[in-house]
């Protein structure tokens, strides 16, 4: 996964900054691992916790009865989250800015969001005894927790740091800055796809483990139709593979049509981003969407990406890897889409409550409401953390490299 992000960003930047980008990507991974180990995990999923944050098991102490593999899996998500940001502010941020925000995100912001949505004690969790609106938020693989938060953080970063020199001409018209290697971008995209299948399927494990098998022990859930459905992690993992595949595929195909009809050219990088956007948007609902719904969600995510990336350019924000549009835009759509399309029967199979489900399948507004609350809370908490952080970094003059250095390249 990290390998994928690394290649993707490396291919998207100019030759003069390749080494720098590779170095930063590798190090945010390492910093994140240490920070997440020391306190991030404790904040996110420590055994003792209130609704908003955990406060035990710092540095994995008293961690015996629990699988370290879960820590490892959660770290990969945390690392993904940090790395998305690096793409957005590539080619102009300083090394120190990078280290500092890596620590903040891996050590605090990401854990708190993750706790709220994914921990059984989290305030938005669907697995609480008393979930919000009777259902809680469904973000199976992390469209909100991982992608929206990372994409928004990247957007705010690039907004505050300002565009690269020469990205907009004197009239404010964008000037394309081509990356140095399309092969690397595609290699990165394909590695990310492989990773995404692992993430979405693996999320079952991590839900299942945390819930101490209470939720999953061969239990049956009775639907509103009277039908009884077996809670089956295995079946859910299989479904995730299929929905993820269909979502990503539809997104790339719709992207192809947009590219041909609107952009009048087959734009490889554009279609790669559509593919990624499809993966991002299907992540929230991969366990609870029917295949047809996965295709709808994926297909529309290409439109979301297209509009999002236009909008970002219109407001003269320079995001070299389009992280805002891909991760924030498509992630947001994915979160809302669950409220529309989530299927009662599949929610039962994945161990979620079934009292409320997607509007399209005849459910009420409670699930969509929860998704909106979750979306708003992610936007709020990221903004409240990142804006002061990046402004402080700018105030201290350690956010951006000097203009000469930027012209010369940071390598």
């Amino acid at each position: 996964m990290q390998t994928g992000f690394c290649m993707l960003t490396a291919g998207s930047v100019r030759t003069k900054n390749v080494m720098n980008v590779l170095l930063k990507n590798m190090l945010d991974c390492c910093t994140g691992a240490i920070v997440f180990f020391l306190f991030g995990y404790a904040f996110a999923h420590g055994e003792e916790s209130n609704r908003f944050i955990g406060y035990s098991q710092f540095a994995l102490t008293r961690f015996d009865n629990f699988s370290h593999a879960v820590f490892f899996f959660r770290w990969t998500l945390s690392a993904a989250s940090t790395t998305v940001v690096s793409g957005a502010i590539a080619e102009r941020a300083t090394f120190y800015a990078y280290l500092i925000y890596s620590v903040c995100i891996s050590g605090f912001l990401y854990p708190v969001i993750s706790h709220g949505v994914w921990d059984v004690n989290g305030w938005l969790s669907a697995h609480r005894p008393d979930p919000v609106l009777g259902i809680g938020m469904i973000d199976f693989g992390g469209s909100a927790v991982v992608h929206m938060s990372a994409g928004l953080c990247g957007f705010l970063g690039t907004l505050i740091i300002g565009p690269r020199i020469g990205r907009f001409d004197s009239n404010g018209k964008p000037v394309a800055i081509a990356g140095h290697s399309a092969s690397l971008v595609v290699l990165g995209t394909l590695l990310l796809c492989t990773g995404a299948f692992g993430f979405n399927a693996g999320s079952m494990l991590h839900v299942a483990t945390r819930a101490d098998h209470e939720l999953f022990g061969g239990r049956n859930i009775v639907l509103s139709t009277g039908e009884s459905v077996l809670v089956s992690p295995t079946m859910t993992v299989s479904r995730c593979l299929v929905t993820t595949l269909l979502g990503a595929a539809m997104s790339a195909l719709v992207g192809l049509v947009i590219s041909k009809w609107v952009l009048k050219v087959f734009d490889l990088i554009f279609i790669c981003n559509c593919l990624l956007g499809g993966l991002v948007s299907i992540t929230a609902g991969c366990a609870t969407l029917e295949p047809y719904a996965a295709m709808c969600v994926g297909g529309f995510s290409a439109v979301v990406y297209f509009l999002g990336s236009r909008l970002v350019l219109r407001i003269r924000v320079d995001d070299p890897v389009d992280a805002s549009a891909v991760h924030f835009g498509c992630g947001l759509w994915g979160v809302l889409a669950v409220g529309l399309f989530s299927s009662e029967r599949l929610q039962a199979g994945a161990g979620f409550p079934v009292t409320h489900f997607g509007l399209v399948h005849g459910g009420d507004w409670a699930l969509l409401g929860c998704q909106v609350i979750g979306m708003a809370s992610v936007i709020g908490s990221v903004t409240a953390t990142c804006v002061p952080l990046f402004l402080l970094l700018r105030a201290f003059g350690i956010l951006r490299v000097s203009a000469e250095q930027e012209e010369k390249g940071i390598d």
Copy 2:
């Protein structure tokens, strides 16, 4: 796997066409996924079926009691099949030609072949109650179903589309057109190797699942020697890893000798193709060949590749990635080799009938006969589908890009 093909083809073409190739590779994957989901899977392995085609479970409806993971695995095979063709007609086919044949192969041709050989109801299946010649065809990982069909399709495509401009001089002598990056070719080859191990080992799962455990439930099979052998999927998977490794390794080493003694130079790309040819040829028999036989089959496949690639050039067909020789030539050899080398004891272990086995081990001609029938049926059905398809595309003028565009590059 797809990543491997993508890098391999990207490295094999000239810089001016890299973007185009990457784009096509990504999209055939996506188109294939949608088409295979909508009707390909139903044709291939729908629950209701006759000897030649399935006709239920379109779009995976009524698919509950069955693992979606199997669909996913089968799709990866289907995608591999489509992608091989793209290499053969790279650098000159139009985008529409590409889309249309992707749909035909993923949606119809591949499923029908796969049904005939792999489905328990298929007319050539070894798992029918009344298999052809009392044994049926043994194509464990798909030398015929995946590789021969894809390689032949690619060959027919490149025959009909004609050589790239400048590939043969005015006297018809071939002029080498070097790819732009050997590193990418090797990266692709190695990723394909990794993928091949997964495919060959994974094939057990997919055979085992489909057969509803009837064939595999700790059953014992009595051999002609009176020895009783336990049907063991686990043991078979382990064996596949070893035979695949030995076959590929021998092929590369024989390729090295050929390269040094015949070509008088260590040709990296040639040896990469030998390695791939070894993987292709071992695929049919990876479960039922002894290690020594795997080495023989792999070793000879380098010779098959060498002769095949010479022959293709001799008849002035231009195949940029040598897909015809690697996939069709070596695949054909692999299919026949099963008839020669297949071991009675290992057939039992993998759940195949044991009344007939390889000639070398004292079996009769029935198994070899079945392999020849299978080979002929693949050749027949691919030719009957692809020749009209490509001719039609040519007649409508949407097969090949214009000469100017080809000179300039399709990016």
Copy 3:
């Protein structure tokens, strides 16, 4: 894993030798597979064996009751070992030298070392009924067996073959020879990381299988404190993931500090090598170190790498990929570190004897003694094999390419 090494070395050499390096890397893998199959495995882990070498199951005969998957896993380690050497003597060794030492290492040297440390009958094994010093050597993932031996072999090779032309100027001062692609180096490093997680975690399987479940069947081990600990392969695998991650991360971060404060520049390649060094050093103790200890071991390994690579340059040895410092230096540190930090409780969990453990945790000197004995025996056996081997090759004039060829490039 092999893919990782391949990309790493390819990125580290000059353009003129890329093809050559790729070719060699692919072929040592293939040669190694055949040789290891024919007799390497038998020497290492044949069922009949004395303390120093096995002598049955050549070519995997009479291998039925044993999983072929274990053979496959062991081969990957053997291949890794061979490939490390290739990096050290890159850009100037002949093809024949390469083939000959591949056969020697995969077929004899590696198997003998592996037998001594890892086989239950091996003289240094911790799983013998009568282990050396009452404890035997703990080298869980192979810091000594794989990395020290390979690194030392590479060092001796590069010492005997001499530096590349132009690597040291007339005053003996080193002249940097830059590799041709930093992206490939990083891609290689990250693929190796992924591989290392698999190796370290997979080592449990291979220990567990070999020991015929006697050591692991839900057995409890009583510690010196009176506490009873369940032997748990699953828990141990999970722990390996976490310790490997923390060790590698700390190493990269310490490397970053060294790079900034000592080298006065952020050197990407240097930090990549620190990361690899961290992986190497944590390999021996990944199952028996607490997380804090993993961070100490990993962090210090960056210092070891830094000093080692300085030392190598000081004595005017030219090692293009720094294999000596990374694999031998950090491997040696990792082996000794087990004697310092190994935890009694975790040794029990991983099925090792608990009578002696790390000094830091209040153990006695026996474990450290065993690690030193193991280290010395690896150094001894590698030196005794490789020095005559490379000297012979040099005497016959087939070690190094001619000066003209080296200047022109070996492609």
